[in-house]
């Protein structure tokens, strides 16, 4: 019968319409400014800089190595390295970026800066409400606008942030263990040298051999 296909289609439309009253799968509208789709854990939009501690500028993990600047496909990152080291949030001297600008009017949200960063300093933000009428000032983010605390990173990417924290802690422990071991070895060597010196004054010289402590830090 002519028109059967059309009627069938109409029935389908009607089923969908009625279904939208009781079936959530058929009523998919999210009324945006009031309701928001929760951001996915891995969602990404633009990069931000992670900082530890209270002071954002002091605690930046970024050491201005400029790898992300080189690897960025659309070249939207601009870094000027500071000429001298400054203390970071624990007081360790560190190079820091004097200027760290990201032009989000160029950024393609590809996440390659995050992948190449060896210091876990740059991560992807999920904020997307950046529109505005000011192109030149509003869309060139400087390091003050880019810096966000680690706790913020934890709220948007909890799993990843925990992983990163674990890795950083392990690295830190490794460095500390190594420093400690080095210090111990140094002290021992010094003690041995002193002992040898003292011994050399009285008795024929004995070669003091103190093997450097071998430390295998926990991973």
């Amino acid at each position: 019968m002519l028109g059967e296909g059309i009627i069938k289609g109409m029935a389908e439309t009607a089923r969908n319409f009625l279904g939208s009253y009781h079936d959530a799968a058929r009523l998919t509208t999210v009324e945006f400014p009031e309701d928001k789709i929760p951001a996915k854990e891995s969602a990404r939009n633009f990069p931000f800089l992670v900082h530890d501690g209270e002071d954002a500028m002091q605690g930046l993990r970024c050491v201005a190595c400029q790898i992300c600047e080189k690897e960025c496909p659309p070249k939207c990152i601009f870094i000027i390295k500071d000429t001298n080291k400054k203390p970071d949030y624990v007081g360790k001297l560190q190079f820091q970026p004097k200027v760290f600008d990201i032009d989000v009017s160029v950024c393609m949200s590809c996440q390659i800066c995050v992948e190449v960063c060896p210091f876990d300093a740059i991560k992807m933000d999920t904020d997307f409400e950046l529109g505005g009428s000011d192109r030149f000032g509003g869309l060139l983010l400087n390091k003050r606008r880019l810096a966000k605390p680690n706790s913020y990173y934890h709220t948007i990417h909890p799993t990843e942030a925990a992983e990163v924290d674990g890795r950083l802690a392990a690295e830190k422990a490794k460095v500390e263990a190594k420093a400690k071991a080095d210090a111990e070895a140094k002290a021992k060597a010094a003690a041995a040298a002193a002992a040898a010196k003292a011994a050399a004054q009285t008795t024929p010289p004995v070669v003091a051999s103190t093997p450097a402590a071998v430390v295998t830090p926990a991973k």
């Binding site: 019968m1 002519l2 028109g3 059967e4 296909g5 059309i6 069938k8 289609g9 029935a11 389908e12 439309t13 089923r15 969908n16 799968a25 998919t28 996915k40 854990e41 891995s42 969602a43 990404r44 790898i67 690897e71 960025c72 496909p73 393609m108 949200s109 590809c110 996440q111 390659i112 992948e115 190449v116 992807m124 799993t159």
Partner: protein, 397 residues
């Protein structure tokens, strides 16, 4: 064929549909008057972006049609030759912006051919899953757009996009971005599946069959659709092969050529699936082939989601930074939803490719656009273009 015969002909079904000849006496060969030259596009609601057709019309009939390209020529190849191999990966997303995952795969595959990196088993499964999901997204959207061009305003496209969002949610939780996934890497994938992803994907894939049923009930037997698309834009198989047509368009003309079967790249030899073929090579066949291909994709997905093994997701030899393939060249190709997507790379041993070329299926499938449109009406030219399935990002690059 008289009108009463037309009315009494059996209604076409999904698997068994037949071509109906146009009623006799409708030949408009002896239309007199001047020829009319029309530039359709680059701004035209039905050209799927900034595509332009310079059409010469005799009355309503197309007597000449020349496509004009370049309105979205974004110099992808030039940019890629000035940047590193990895940095081109996010640009491939923007080629055919509906199918970023398959673009990623084609590029990764070509670089793997060039360097000999081998993706591990799990990565291959993830690639198959994401590629088939991409095929679903692409075909679903295409059908929505095609029906929109035919006059089914709103509803089919609305249903298609509702379904697309479900898959984009999967892509987003996997790769972080809805459309521009930038997910694959040379020798594997960037990130492992997040917890619960497989279950979520299985749910979406499980519901897809029902969506396809509904969609088919909605419109596939619609008499207006049938009348507008059967016998329109016929592409003969020999012409299709000689013109390097690939993808669903080639298969709608009855040529059994699918790179998933012919090349068996990745792990496609593990999946038993059928390649739907058309009989007539008209717009209706091209529409139907896509619906049927989606059903096969659902089958592949179900199997892949069931069988995916645990393990690493990237070749341990793969490097993110300082990647320099040794000198040589490679051409790699995959069956992307639009046809054969290939990447031709020449390396001179530096971090940037010396030559980087994309073989765009959308562009090459347009070779026969004029042949298909000649003698049809201008309104049919619109749906013939729609059935080719082009995305301008890939046509012009």
């Amino acid at each position: 064929m008289s009108e009463s015969e037309l009315l009494s002909a059996p209604a076409p079904t999904a698997m068994n549909y037949e071509i109906r000849p146009k009623p006799a006496g409708t030949s408009d060969a002896e239309v007199g008057g001047e020829l009319l030259e029309v530039a359709m596009g680059p701004h035209h609601p039905s050209t799927h972006g900034v595509f332009r057709m310079d059409v010469v019309l005799d009355g309503e009939q197309v007597v000449k049609l020349k496509p004009v390209f370049g309105y979205l020529h974004r110099n992808h190849e030039k940019i890629a030759e000035n940047t590193t191999y990895l940095a081109s990966m996010p640009y491939t997303d923007r080629l055919d912006y509906l199918c970023s995952m398959t673009n990623n795969w084609a590029y990764a595959l070509s670089v793997e051919r060039l360097t000999g990196l081998i993706p591990p088993e799990r990565a291959e499964y993830i690639r198959v899953i994401t590629a088939e999901l991409t095929r679903l997204v692409n075909h679903t959207c295409l059908i929505g757009f095609l029906l929109q061009d035919m006059g089914a305003l709103g509803t089919p496209l609305m249903y298609a996009f509702r379904q697309r969002e479900l898959i984009l949610d999967l892509f987003e939780s996997l790769s972080g971005s809805r459309m521009m996934c930038n997910y694959m890497r040379f020798g594997g994938c960037r990130a492992d599946l997040p917890a619960g992803w497989l279950e979520q994907a299985a749910q979406v894939v499980g519901g897809y069959g029902q969506f396809l049923d509904e969609f088919q009930a909605l419109i596939s037997e619609n008499e207006i659709l049938v009348a507008r698309s059967q016998g329109v834009g016929v592409l003969p198989a020999e012409l299709a092969i000689n013109s390097s047509i690939t993808g669903p368009m080639l298969r709608a003309s009855g040529v059994n050529f699918d790179l998933r079967k012919a090349d068996r790249y990745g792990i496609y030899d593990r999946f038993p699936f059928r390649v739907p073929l058309g009989d007539h090579g008209d717009v209706y066949d091209r529409y139907m082939i896509r619906l049927l291909e989606m059903r096969e994709s659902v089958k592949i997905l179900e199997q892949a989601l069931r069988e995916i093994p645990a393990g690493p997701i990237i070749d341990p030899k793969a490097k993110i930074r300082g990647f320099r393939p040794k000198a040589g060249e490679a051409y790699g190709r995959i069956e992307c939803p639009k046809g054969e997507l290939g990447f031709y790379l020449i390396s001179d041993g530096s971090p940037n490719p010396y030559r980087y070329r994309v073989r765009p299926p959308s562009l090459i499938n347009l070779t026969v656009l004029e042949d298909m449109c000649l003698g049809q009406t201008v309104a049919d030219a619109v749906i013939i273009l729609g059935s080719v399935d082009i995305v301008l990002g890939e046509v012009d690059r």
